[in-house]
């Protein structure tokens, strides 16, 4: 409900930060452009977090009403969180010109997500086996 009012400051912040980053790359301290991009990403996501938590609680209500096992829903939420935070770090590394480090961050996130999703996959396999018997 408050997202429409919150989107305009975010757009303004992003555009100003982009202009400032281009300016900082010309200065004697081009590293500051990366630090500014890091700060901008963090500020924008911090502003989005309340809306995110509202959205997640709405989805949780729907999932509870549909009788879904809440464990599976929490795993989905965790996967989204890991994917976002890893993408944030990897994209910053890539912007800094370190594609190799970005790839490692992504691999770490994939391993974490896979580890988290494994119980669901094994539960699916077990239910398939139960159907076959």
């Amino acid at each position: 409900m408050s997202s429409i009012a919150a989107i305009i400051p975010i757009i303004a912040l992003a555009v100003i930060a982009a202009i400032i980053s281009v300016f900082l790359q010309q200065s004697k301290l081009p590293v500051m452009a990366i630090i500014a991009a890091l700060a901008t990403g963090a500020i924008i996501f911090l502003r989005l977090l309340p809306s995110f938590s509202e959205l997640i609680s709405l989805f949780e209500n729907i999932a509870l009403k549909s009788g879904l096992n809440s464990y599976y829903f929490i795993v989905v939420i965790k996967v989204i969180g890991i994917a976002y935070i890893a993408e944030f770090g990897a994209q910053l590394c890539r912007d800094a010109g370190q594609g190799a480090i970005a790839l490692k961050v992504e691999i770490a996130a994939k391993v974490a997500i896979m580890l988290m999703a494994m119980p669901i996959a094994s539960a699916l396999l077990q239910s398939v086996l139960r159907l076959l018997q």
Partner: protein, 66 residues
């Protein structure tokens, strides 16, 4: 909540460091000129660090990552 003033602080820091660097280089003090760059990057990182910590804590609590 995020406060946008950190971006302007970083810009001002970069401008000050650039001016100091140019000034010291003109004066022939190359080692101090390099030191200003190091100090500038360190101050910027120290200022940004609490925001990153806040972001990670927020993501941890919102997405139920423990």
């Amino acid at each position: 909540m995020g406060d946008a003033s950190i971006i302007f602080f970083l810009t001002a820091l970069a401008i000050a460091v650039t001016i100091l660097h140019t000034f010291l280089k003109q004066a022939g003090r190359d080692e101090f000129a390099y030191l200003t760059l190091v100090v500038g990057v360190s101050i910027g990182l120290i200022k940004v660090l609490p925001i990153i910590k806040e972001l990670f804590n927020g993501v941890e609590s919102v997405f139920k990552l423990y």
